[in-house]
């Protein structure tokens, strides 16, 4: 068979633009690629690279006011007929016949991508009705079959439920079932696993792979996660600012990248695959030092009855970075907030050792003490947007804790300037407002605010998860630099094992409010003891196509039994 024959979708010089007040924004700028039957093409890029718009341009479902300005999208059917999808009327009959029938699509947010008020059976069966006019009863049969295919338990009852009654992973399965309804020859998956936990992600990736094989579909997979790419891709397309940077087989992209951007991208991903270099040079913390923070049997139950934090005990030693890892809903954020009394834990103790050697139980401390402690224990937030008041200048934001602590005048000005420099911001930008800064810069502002009062312990709650991968390591490096300069300790909360491995000395694994395993990072990563930890670690996609392993991952069964 010739190459030409196996190509099902060929995109040539695609250009999609968004007219704005100031001009025309080229979201997709001359993108070309070919998708072969039965193969998986991963489009990878950081936010704003135009990868999603590319995917949507194929079906001409770009949101208003975007439109395709040039190029062609050639669909070649099994019978040899071809259609240039880019030339069709986006509202017309012909393109509608392609959508859902020949090319189906699944999206990032299964919750909002499905209608909350329609039963899932109706939504899945709809494509059948639209394209084949299938009768109701037959539709139902087919939907049940699809639900079985995507491994949704008890399809007979599930078919009449609503999306919000399912978990995230199940919702994505519903999406997939919907996409498969008409046996499409191409499946476009737009970041289908980004909103999911790693373990769920692994299952969905598995499922897609399996279905791709059984249906003989070509898959166009959009993602920002190089690990996922390495796990599933046959071919890779690297995009940056609407342009294709590099295109080729997955093997070559990972191991012999040609383009500088690709190299940088791969580099920053690979960098996070191991312990940070600074830490290698660091002397191990002297054993036997008294812990800075000693949390014992901490529990918090929400009024709804949810045990968010369940009998958690852990210690943080001076100068140490303790990682807390866990999936969404594990209670790690709540636990972090309990440490600063943002939430009031009901039982247990949070003993914090002050510089003078006194121990304070933060959980029960009075207002004055708490105020003092809060100057020594600071917090960095996940959301770089929400944690900075948009109505204050950067200078004001950083100065706020200082002002409250009583600093004013020149001293204050100088200190703010110092802090900004320390976190890598131009002191001249102090008059600017947060909206003028990028996500990474904002997070630096948050860090500057946190270190303003020379704290001893910083609780960083998912401090890097809102950032693109290339920025992530920079931020971690900054935090570690400050750790050395200021003698800081960290409680570093994250769902991402790689950043923990990169930055933390010890790690505690949280699962359903409990800590299931604590230990030296290396030890936990290399020799996990608890089943859940093993499952978690093995589900993490590995950014090396030569070492695809999530299909052989360890599954922690108590997920369903507990």
């Amino acid at each position: 068979m010739s190459i030409m024959k196996s190509t099902i979708l060929e995109v040539q010089d695609l250009q999609t633009v968004f007219p704005t007040r100031t001009g025309v924004f080229k979201a997709v700028d001359g993108v070309s690629f070919a998708l072969n039957r039965g193969e998986t093409l991963c489009v990878v890029g950081e936010s704003g690279s135009g990868k999603s718009v590319t995917a949507r341009s194929i079906l001409q479902i770009v949101d208003k006011p975007g439109r395709i300005e040039g190029g062609s999208v050639l669909l070649t059917r099994a019978d040899g007929s071809t259609t240039d999808l880019a030339k069709l009327d986006p509202r017309g009959r012909e393109i509608r016949d392609v959508r859902g029938k020949e090319i189906a699509m699944i999206f990032q947010e299964p919750m909002s991508s499905l209608s909350p008020v329609h039963r899932i059976g109706t939504q899945i069966g709809e494509a059948l009705r639209i394209h084949f006019g299938t009768a109701k009863q037959e539709q139902r049969e087919r939907v049940l079959e699809l639900l079985r295919q995507v491994e949704i338990p008890r399809p007979e009852s599930a078919i009449d439920r609503y999306t919000f009654e399912f978990s995230g992973g199940m919702r994505q399965r519903v999406m997939i079932a919907m996409a498969l309804a008409c046996n499409p020859s191409v499946l476009i998956a737009d970041e289908p696993t980004t909103a999911l936990d790693v373990t769920t992600q692994a299952e969905i990736l598995d499922l897609i792979k399996k279905l791709q094989q059984s249906h003989g579909m070509a898959v166009l997979f959009i993602t920002h996660d190089m690990g996922v790419v390495a796990e599933i891709a046959d071919e890779v397309l690297v995009m940056y600012r609407g342009k294709v940077m590099e295109r080729g087989p997955v093997e070559r992209i990972f191991h012999a990248p040609q383009d500088a951007y690709t190299r940088r991208l791969i580099g920053s991903v690979v960098k996070l695959e191991k312990k940070a270099e600074v830490r290698l040079a660091r002397k191990p913390a002297p054993a036997g030092t008294l812990p800075l923070l000693d949390v014992r049997n901490l529990s918090l139950t929400f009024p709804s009855g949810l045990k968010a934090v369940d009998d958690v005990s852990l210690t943080v030693r001076p100068g140490e970075a303790l990682g807390i890892v866990g999936e969404s809903g594990s209670g790690k954020t709540t636990m972090g907030r309990c440490l600063l009394r943002i939430y009031d834990a009901q039982t247990g103790a949070i003993d914090y050792r002050r510089p003078d050697g006194d121990t304070v139980d933060i959980r029960t401390a009075n207002k004055a003490t708490l105020e003092k402690v809060r100057r020594e224990v600071r917090m960095i937030f996940q959301d770089p947007v929400g944690s900075l008041s948009p109505r204050k200048t950067v200078g004001d934001i950083i100065a706020e804790p200082l002002k409250i602590a009583g600093m004013k005048g020149r001293e204050l000005n100088d200190r703010v300037a110092d802090l900004m420099q320390q976190v890598g911001l131009e002191p001249a930008w102090r008059e600017r407002y947060p909206h003028a800064f990028s996500g990474g810069q904002r997070q630096r502002i948050g860090i500057a605010r946190a270190i303003a009062l020379k704290p001893r312990l910083i609780i960083a709650d998912e401090a890097t998860s809102a950032l693109d991968v290339s920025l992530r390591s920079q931020m971690l490096d900054l935090m570690m630099k400050l750790q050395d300069e200021l003698g800081l300790s960290y409680v570093f909360i994250s769902h991402d094992m790689s950043v923990i491995r990169y930055m933390c000395d010890r790690v505690a694994v949280m699962y359903r409010g409990k800590i299931v395993e604590v230990g030296e990072t290396d030890q936990v990563v290399n020799n996990p003891v608890h089943g859940y930890t093993r499952a978690l670690l093995s589900a993490i996609p590995h950014p090396d196509p030569r070492n695809r392993r999530i299909h052989n991952r360890f599954r922690y069964d108590s997920v369903r039994t507990v």
């Binding site: 079906l59 509608r96 909350p116």
Partner: protein, 328 residues
Amino acid sequence: MIRFIAKRLVFAIPTLFAVSIIAFIIIQLPPGDYLTTLMADWASQGGAVEAGTVAAMRDRYGLDQPIYVQYFKWITGILMRGDFGISFDFGKPVTELIWNRLGFSLLLSVLTLCFVWAIAIPIGILSAVRQYSISDYTATFLAFFFLAVPDFLMALSAMYIMSAWFGQSVGGLFSPDYVDAPWGFGKLFDFAQHVWLPVVVIGLGSLAALVRIMRANLLDELSKPYVTTARAKGMSELELLLRYPVRLALNPLISTLGWILPAVISGEIIVSVVMSLPTTGPLLLRSLLAQDMYLAGSLILLISVLTIIGTLISDILLAITDPRIRLQ
């Protein structure tokens, strides 16, 4: 679902009690009582009212008792016997006077709501789908315009125009021939001929709010990812619009019922006075002015009850149409 309704019902009970107290306080606020009105009326017919008669009547009506005693009597009468007291002005039990009028009020309100929704939804859809187009601006402007014209003014002008220019009989809900006739096709037709004008006048005032809500909701929904999902299925734009975003945008619209109803009822009171409709409006106005306290109090109470029931219905409707509310 039943638990949900039961919960809402239980919540409504203290509200109803509070409303009954407020209604009673409202009617007690103005100085004087019904007898001062009666004296004024008698005087205008050349009669003088002797002090003895007034005192005897005050005693008979229990108007000389403390307000809480009067309230207690009234409310126990309602709860125990469904007795809303008597109307001094009519010399009849309140219950004999109000049901008919409440019925027409309710009918008028429901018709008005139907009318407003029937035009607000398509206009809202058009406005949202063709955002920032001429039709959007026109719809917005007209809706605001009708919001800005006081409804009594609109009622009088509309009546004058219909009467003087089109020779239509205005005022009331029936022609004299049909007033006391039994319901039948002819009466229904006659009713329809009369009822549309007040319905339009009351409705147009509330139009703006609904159009704007529909438009904003729909714009909101139009940008939701599930629209793209449906589009990616190959659904036609019109079907998609009606099946998904419009369907979802209707939910918040249903929840507006609770607060649009008091507005419609208030509008109905004023318009009914201008147009002489046999609804609660004119009766309430008269009873408030005449300080016919049990009649006024009962009307306020029942209108508020209707509003509360309206809110309840909107809650239930919302629960029916929105599984998220029903199931969570």
